[in-house]
């Protein structure tokens, strides 16, 4: 099939899906949902083919297709180059899983949902996927903005689609408002360019931007960065994220966390390396350092806040903040190193490769984890992990897949999370060697923070997995859980397979990264730089002379690991076949019960105390004593941590604004004399001004 037909076909699939599920609204809801998800899956497959066609097609290929004229003042068009295709690929990969997962999930979660609502699900899902896909394929500012807002709107609908309590509506409101603020910044950034260019399409913008004076260009970049950062949930613009993502249905959460944030990353890369890139010479240094700093902050704070969450999906949402931070570290490093020296541009390629690879990796394992959380949710209807436990014996496949995702996101070998973090470390090391002076130190510090992040993530997921799936069930919800339906398992298995493949044989993925990296940075693509020694070996040459490079082969490590495991297994069986019997866990002689299990709160407590300065933890313990104060009947414990940005910036601002407007409204007059007075006053003042100015 010709790649040229791809976009149209994709639009047809998504649009058709949206419309058909809308038309089926009056009829059976299940049919609407089914049709919607099938169409979404088809659209994702088309997107997959399209992106692969571009990525593996002849290098430097860009598909440009005009859109029939809609607005008299702008020519709309699509343009799909390497970068667009890569993000389209990521979107499609997760979208397939979500589309497979969705129907069974929705049915299991709320079987009694009204047809209208189910149809809305199908409609919004297709709209969401379509808009995301076409944001990446947009060839001009207006298409970009329209799809961008469409994406926000569709995800908003999905977030509030389940409005059993007001909580989701509030989360949706916060999300929508912050997204709108971000869009406002984007508007200014884009219009600042389009008005100079006199046209909307990216080609014209590129041409204009290369002629911009540095201050203006930097201002435009930071406007755009602010807009995208809001969408990406970068700290301190993240407050909407941990509320909105959990509120959505889980497969939508997977899409939002795994993919939608990446669209923002796409925007940042598009602006920094493509639209605003100067004709020659490096980018303004302020850009890269800012992005690096912001990325590091988000990574550390994100995982720290994630550690203290007990709501499974909220925890995952905070981890998205962390991973976006890691991606931004790579991107920022690439901005710093780009076009610095001969070899640094190769180094920049390494950094960008790390960022892009982590984009795909995060999409895979975060999608997997959210789907796993969804399976737990739809079987137990509980999101608070304190009320779960012991699920590994009841939902073994789900548990195994979730564990795989946990290992991957904790950046542990031999899975994919480690690969991208390894590349990031290499790039950071290279940066430290190239950038002398304080800059180098900052880069090394970022490396240390990255290591800290990895360790904390491991701790966090030891907690998440252990408390949710291991030990004894703490409540009847968990007690009576059963394994998730096969279609949901299949969707998770698909993503898990991606995690393993990207982890064990990352060299092959580099082939896909060639197009975007060379499109953005010019020069050799990833596979030439990182997979120079064949697809099995990742190698990075750090010093100009080429000596002292680093090489690592995930494949061999994995093989070694498997072999040794086999040997150790034999060893464990023992010389003679020892019998195995089971006995209750040792609890100092008491009869064990679920109350002996370590809770999430307890597990995270040491770190809560270590980082108390960041958490401002609050705990209130009330003793319920009987007649004598020494006999304690019951102890109530309530503890919480505060999100500094939220309490210190957002809550305060919101409160002040509302108080201000309340007072203004209360002071306003209702008497007609005041009305007339205002009119008269306005006239007199205006006349005075005219008289004074034009004397």
């Amino acid at each position: 099939m010709d790649v040229q037909a791809g976009p149209g076909l994709m639009a047809a699939c998504y649009g058709g899906g949206a419309l058909s599920s809308l038309l089926l609204a009056r009829g059976s809801g299940r049919l609407a949902v089914g049709v919607g998800h099938v169409a979404a899956c088809a659209g994702a497959l088309v997107g997959l083919g399209l992106s692969l066609g571009v990525l593996l097609g002849e290098p430097g290929r860009t598909i440009i297709q005009p859109i029939p004229v809609l607005f008299p003042f702008a020519r709309l068009s699509l343009s799909i180059d390497g970068l667009s295709a890569y993000f389209l690929l990521v979107i499609s990969l997760v979208a397939i899983a979500a589309a497979v997962y969705g129907p069974a999930y929705l049915r299991a979660l709320s079987p009694e949902a009204r047809p209208a609502r189910q149809a809305a699900q199908g409609f919004a899902l297709n709209l969401f996927l379509g808009c995301m896909a076409f944001v990446c394929c947009a060839g001009d500012a207006l298409t970009f903005l329209l799809c961008w807002e469409g994406m926000t709107l569709a995800s908003y609908v999905l977030v509030v689609s389940d409005d059993r309590d007001g909580e989701n509506a509030r989360a949706g409101l916060l999300y929508m408002v912050m997204a709108h603020g971000g869009t406002a910044l984007l508007l200014v950034a884009f219009l600042g360019l389009t008005e100079r260019a006199g046209a909307f399409d990216f080609g014209a913008l590129r041409a204009t931007a290369s002629g911009l004076d540095p201050p203006t260009r930097t201002m435009v970049f930071f406007l755009a960065f602010g807009g995208f950062a809001t969408k990406a949930g970068v700290i301190p613009l993240h407050v909407w994220l941990p509320r909105a993502h959990p509120a959505a249905p889980s497969h939508i959460s997977a899409l939002m966390s795994g993919v939608m944030l990446k669209v923002a990353i796409y925007g940042i890369l598009r602006f920094a390396f493509d639209l605003l890139a100067p004709g020659a010479g490096p980018l303004p240094s302020s850009w890269g350092w800012t992005v690096l700093f912001v990325g590091t902050t988000s990574a550390v704070l994100g995982v720290l806040y994630a550690l203290q969450q007990h709501d499974l999906k909220r925890l995952l949402a905070f981890h998205s903040v962390e991973n976006i931070g890691i991606i931004l570290i790579g991107a920022g490093l690439a901005m710093i190193l780009w076009r610095q020296e001969a070899t640094s541009s190769a180094l920049a390629t390494v950094a960008l490769t790390a960022a892009l690879l982590h984009t795909a990796n995060h999409a895979a394992f975060k999608g997997l984890l959210f789907l796993g959380a969804g399976s737990v949710l739809c079987r137990t209807h509980v999101r608070n992990m304190e009320e779960l436990g012991g699920l590994a014996r009841r939902m073994p496949s789900t548990a195994a897949l979730f564990l795989l995702g946990a290992v991957a996101i904790s950046a542990l070998p031999p899975l994919n999370g480690f690969v991208s973090e390894w590349l990031t470390f290499q790039a950071l090391l290279g940066g430290a060697t190239r950038v002398q002076g304080p800059g180098g130190l900052i880069i090394v510090f970022a490396a240390a923070m990255l290591a800290l992040t990895g360790g904390l993530a491991a701790a966090c997921f030891a907690k998440a997995f252990g408390v949710t799936f291991l030990g004894r069930p703490r409540t009847p919800h968990a007690e009576h859980a059963t394994e998730a339906p096969p279609s949901m398992i299949a969707a998770m298995a698909w993503l898990a397979a991606l995690c393993v493949a990207l982890g064990v044989a990352p060299g092959y993925a580099m082939r896909l990264l060639d197009a975007p990296t060379s499109a953005l940075l010019g020069g050799a693509g990833s596979s030439a730089v990182v997979a120079a020694r064949g697809p099995l070996v990742l190698s990075v040459a750090l010093t100009p002379s080429g000596i002292g490079g680093t090489a690592m082969s995930m494949t061999m490590i994995a093989a070694l690991l498997v072999a040794l495991t086999a040997i150790a297994w034999v060893l464990r069986r023992g010389w003679r076949r020892g019998s195995r019997r089971t006995a209750p866990t040792w609890t100092c002689g008491m009869s064990p019960s679920a109350r002996f299990d370590y809770t999430a709160t307890a597990f995270a407590k040491p770190l809560r105390l270590v980082f108390a300065a960041l958490y401002h933890p609050r705990r209130d313990v009330t003793h319920e004593t009987s007649e004598s104060p020494y006999i304690v009947r019951r102890i109530h414990y309530a503890g919480e941590i505060v999100d500094l940005a939220e309490t210190h910036i957002y809550r305060r601002a919101a409160r002040d604004i509302s108080i201000l407007s309340q007072t203004i409204r209360a002071r306003s007059t209702g008497s007609i004399y005041g009305y007339i007075g205002f009119v008269l006053g306005a006239l007199v003042v205006a006349l005075l001004l005219v008289g004074v100015i034009y004397r």
């Binding site: 209702g670 007075g677 007199v684 005219v690 008289g691 034009y694």
Partner: protein, 218 residues
């Protein structure tokens, strides 16, 4: 009559109009205000007549006549009738003290002169002193509406400011096209009618003055 005489007559009338306006502002009783408006309209009718005689413009005669009939006779009579019909208190309760209102009206007069002074001598030839007087009348009329309670006083103020407009129209541009003038006057009559109806309606339902209702706010 020579143009200068006409000009001087108009100026004197303008001064008189300002005087009546001050009477309206200072009026402590509703009747006084109504009479002052009637007198004001009368003066305007005279001004129309003078201008008509000077320019021989037939339209102006008609306009003067209409003003005499409608504004100097009919509307004051209607107001008078309403006041008697709904036996409200005859005293005018000011929103802010009368002295303050007077001060404000002085300010307005100053502003209007300053504004028209900003036009410069050449352009003042077009407008003469009529413009500042007109502005002053119009704004002061509105000032009265803003600073006097009871709906009736507001209607009085409204008519006063309409007078200001008419005077300007005559003096500055020998009156607008006849049809327009008539239309305007018809509108004013209609408005007065509707307002009267509303006043009586409220008076009959809730025993309060419509202008004092201030439940709707914010």
């Amino acid at each position: 009559m020579s143009a200068d005489t006409v000009q001087s007559i108009i100026d004197d009338l303008g001064a008189l109009l300002l005087f009546t306006m001050i009477l309206i502002v200072a009026a402590g009783q509703i009747y006084r205000a109504i009479y002052a408006v009637a007198a004001q309209s009368l003066l305007i009718a005279i001004a129309g007549g003078v201008l008509a005689a000077a320019t021989g413009n037939v339209d102006l005669w008609v306009i003067a006549a209409i003003t005499l009939v409608v504004k100097a006779t009919l509307l004051p009579w209607v107001l008078h009738w309403v006041v008697q019909r709904m036996n409200v208190r005859r005293e005018i309760e000011p929103v802010i003290p009368i002295a303050g209102t007077l001060a404000l009206s002085v300010l307005i007069v100053v502003v209007s002169f300053q504004v028209s002074a900003s036009l410069g001598p050449v352009r003042q030839a077009i407008t003469g002193n009529a413009l500042p007087v007109g502005i002053a009348l119009t704004l002061t009329g509105v000032l009265v509406m803003a600073t006097r309670k009871t709906a009736l006083t507001q209607m009085v103020g409204l008519f006063a400011s309409e007078n200001g407009i008419f005077f300007t129209a005559m003096a500055v541009s020998q009156g607008m096209p006849l049809i327009i003038e008539i239309g305007v006057i018809l509108d004013v009559i209609l408005a007065a009618l509707v307002m009267t109806i509303m006043v009586l309606r409220v008076r009959s339902t809730v025993d309060a003055d419509i202008a004092d209702l201030d439940r709707l706010r914010g």
